[in-house]
Subunit: 530 residues, 2 copies
């Protein structure tokens, strides 16, 4: 009564794996080059040590690596009960040593656009050597190392002789969370950052506010969350919360890209900033409802400049996401002052020009604040002449590669989101659909292709909150993560990816990530969080 | 970039509710008759008491009610930190008293087919009076009572003056879990039983074994789980586990209907019971693979009789589910002994007759064990003459009401599952589709309609384990629960149900059930289990 129905979803080749726990020596996402050997070395939590190479530019006292050592010790030896790896050291004479050699400082700081994530990892008798240019590359290497460690049937840890040379295909590998449609507790965001690091995703796009609620607690405009959040105390992100997210992300080599979407998607802003939104009219009188941000008032730009100034002081990343999508023009059309302004500016009845005017001003503010702007594709589509330098995020369905082509032809950078809307529920093996995306399969020059800086998984919040976030994200987002990190030719087969992803999903469970199953089977360590 | 896409899923009328926490005085599923008044009474955990009416046939010492009082005290006052309600009593002079009056014993025992779940509940100043025929009806009334209690913005508890007269529309309101395709930890099953009780579902259909694994640890045939479970220790249900499930269910008025599906869906049985399955042939030689249970050997029936004898000694319910679905005839067709048997029996080449022959024997065993058999509709479809008295579970898609009509025309009882396959992921508001089912909307006599004893939510395990079970089940299963309990005319509007279900979902969260959101919004108490 069950399987026949569901079998129509089956991926070819999958039935072979029924019921088995695949034992594949693999790293997810697939490294650019990996050579495994059957030679294996026993590992023990009592004789395992991370250390800085003598020649390393980064030494003890560097938070990012020190904390990573502690974290990965526990991830590698989950039964050790904590990260105090040094405690174990002196009980044995010859520890297995992971020597980390980072070529360039600074040791701390923030991951950024252009951060080099390359690393080399060599596992040989008694030691592993991890070499990277930056600490961020070292983090990626530690993740790969942790995934190479397996447990045999008797619980004994081991690692195979391995050589990895690895680097990301795309520099921007994002994941969007929407904390406006549903509030996500801090813990849910931090856990998502953990899982992102396991998949080598490196940008947390925080769609922090939107129509339904404004949970960001602004220093300058505290009324925005006081009056615009679902609840002014329990459903907000304080400055401390935000700092904690940014620090948790930084320690994992993840950038935090904040989005303050306007002029649409701003209903909740109006509660705490009354003159900001456009009053809509019914005939000659205000209807009492409000539309997008009012683009014709000086006060609007003063407010936006102040808000964005604060935002850029809080979020260190060089990118800021300004939104600009899905502006409904009907309210602007109804408002006599807007109509007069349109006339004065010579916009005729083309409201896309008014939106472009608004976005141009906001992008200018962002530029003055020394930030690169990211906008949704609508802004590019409307804004045909004298476009400023912004990064365009392509999100619409249909021929998204056509849009990628147009944007890169205009010389602008692209982030691709369209094929990775994971909030839409579907059979788990939608992962194959996310996996089969070919971001560069459009006609264009080499220069154009270089402008595709990466892609992004979107987890919109209409139907998602802390109750279903994790199983809806994981392991489906891992499919996108491999597409964005790995070589496309080496990872073109869904059938070959399936046992690796099944295995990786069990690893996620072991690490406490509530990742749903891909198909019939089991993990040695099932999810315990019920 | 988000909502426009997703808005195509919107249910009409829903947008109005954006962002609000509806405050609806309501019980889910909707009682047959309920009268609320604006008059409200404050409640305090320090002055609240359950007691047995002097005339009640059931008094202190009855486990089912004693434990329910403790449980519902905590559900009503979640901040009280435990169920020791009597501890609070003597601090106040005039407690609010819930007087429970059960007309008939026994006080304990098992809920069964035909158990009367009717109850009346009257909430007036200083007291509530709950009257029922059986303890099972009292449980339903306590659930409704607990849902009438609300908290105001200052955290103060209150209940409105209310009168309820209630009974279920269908006696069989089931939920199926599949513990073979993925193993579900005991805790996941117990939690599901909790949530079932909150929705007044009353039959846990335990699809305990199937092709991929055999987690039931048999006393008589321990090899079945030893060799057929995913793991012989960590992925099994011991006799103690099974007793715990049955007891947890009993205390909530929930029957446990065990399914041992055969002759198909039995691959995992073959590991521990080697001669049970049919050897498949390639040409003249055995291929090394096995098909369904071998229906031509006496040893098969001896084994099945022994197994079912054990099963009926473990599971007290008068129903047993014998499966009988989706038998693949190709292996039988390949086997020369089976072919010879077909000839001897005069079955020609109609293998449905062979399946009917097998099922007839199994149903007979079940009858001798004093059990009513439930079978999947395939058995009915194949078995056109001299059908034994079994209950038919309709599961196939397409015109499922046509099948309901045929089965009831043959004078057999029906359980309807087809429209409630909740394992198939989909947008959360699939709940509306589950809600809009009309189980009796077929042409038939009154007698026929009475044969539709109820329906069942199915949560098959191909893509579901403990990581995503709860959010996939809840609150979608609540839609089916209301359809099966409530009056269809009173609950015909999805728009009216929406705010009630949204509210009920928040209540489920408060009770620790990981129920996913229906749409944009928030709950006062969000899910804390991250």
């Amino acid at each position: 009564m069950s399987s026949r129905c569901n079998l129509r979803f089956l991926i070819p080749g999958l039935a072979l794996l029924l019921g088995g726990v695949p034992s594949v020596l693999a790293v997810w996402p697939q490294p650019q080059q990996i050579r495994n050997s059957a030679e294996r070395y026993s590992l023990s939590a009592r004789a395992f040590l991370f250390k800085h190479a003598d020649v390393s530019a980064v030494r003890s006292g560097c938070d990012v690596l020190d904390q990573a050592f502690t974290r990965y010790f526990t991830l590698i030896f989950p039964e050790s009960g904590g990260g105090a790896h040094n405690r174990y050291f002196w009980t044995e004479a010859d520890p297995f040593t992971v020597e980390v050699n980072v070529a360039e400082g600074p040791c701390d700081g923030y991951p950024a656009e252009g951060s080099i994530e390359n690393y080399k990892l060599t596992v040989s008798p008694g030691q592993a050597v991890l070499t990277s240019v930056t600490v961020w590359g070292a983090l990626r290497g530690l993740e790969s190392l942790s995934q190479l460690v397996e447990q045999d049937d008797y619980g004994a840890y081991y690692i195979n002789k391995t050589e990895i040379e690895d680097f990301p295909r795309f520099q921007f590998r994002g994941l969007l969370l929407d904390t406006s449609r549903h509030y996500l507790p801090l813990q849910a965001i931090l856990k998502t950052l953990d899982a992102m690091a396991y998949s080598k995703l490196n940008v947390f796009h925080w769609h922090i506010v939107d129509d339904p609620s404004f949970p960001y607690q602004s220093r300058k405009y505290p009324d925005l969350s006081k009056k615009g959040a679902y609840h002014p105390f329990t459903h907000i992100y304080t400055q401390t919360d935000v700092r904690r997210v940014i620090e948790h992300a930084r320690l994992r080599g993840i950038r935090v890209l904040a989005e303050f979407d306007s002029p649409g998607h701003t209903q909740s802003w109006g509660n705490g900033q009354p003159s900001l939104l456009t009053p809509c009219y019914r005939g000659d009188v205000p209807s009492g409802t409000y539309g997008p941000v009012n683009p014709i008032l000086d006060s609007t730009y003063v407010f936006m400049a102040n808000l964005l100034k604060e935002v850029t002081s809080v979020f260190p990343d060089s990118y800021i996401h300004l939104g600009g999508d899905e502006v409904d023009f009907s309210c602007w059309k109804s408002n006599p002052d807007i109509k007069a302004f349109m006339k004065k500016m010579g916009f005729g009845s083309d409201f896309t020009k008014l939106e472009s005017f608004y976005m141009q001003n906001i992008v200018n503010i962002s530029t003055m604040l020394n930030r690169s702007s990211v906008v949704w594709q609508d802004v590019f589509d409307y804004h045909e002449i004298n476009r400023p330098r912004y990064v365009v995020e392509v999100w619409k369905w249909g021929c998204y590669l056509c849009e990628v082509r147009r944007v890169t032809k205009a010389g602008l950078k692209v982030i691709l989101a369209s094929p990775w809307y994971l909030d839409l529920p579907g059979p788990t093996h939608d992962w194959a659909r996310y996996y089969n995306v070919r971001p560069l399969a459009f006609k264009g020059t080499e220069e154009q292709k270089k402008l595709v800086i990466g892609g992004e998984v979107c987890m919109w919040g209409e139907y998602v909150d802390a109750t279903n976030l994790s199983p809806r994200l994981w392991p489906r987002a891992c499919a996108a993560a491999e597409r964005l990190w790995s070589d496309e030719v080496q990872t073109s087969s869904v059938d070959q990816a399936f046992p690796r992803l099944t295995d990786f999903r069990c690893r996620l469970l072991r690490r406490g990530i509530q990742a749903e199953p891909l198909y019939v089977g089991h993990c040695k360590n099932e999810y315990q969080g019920i």
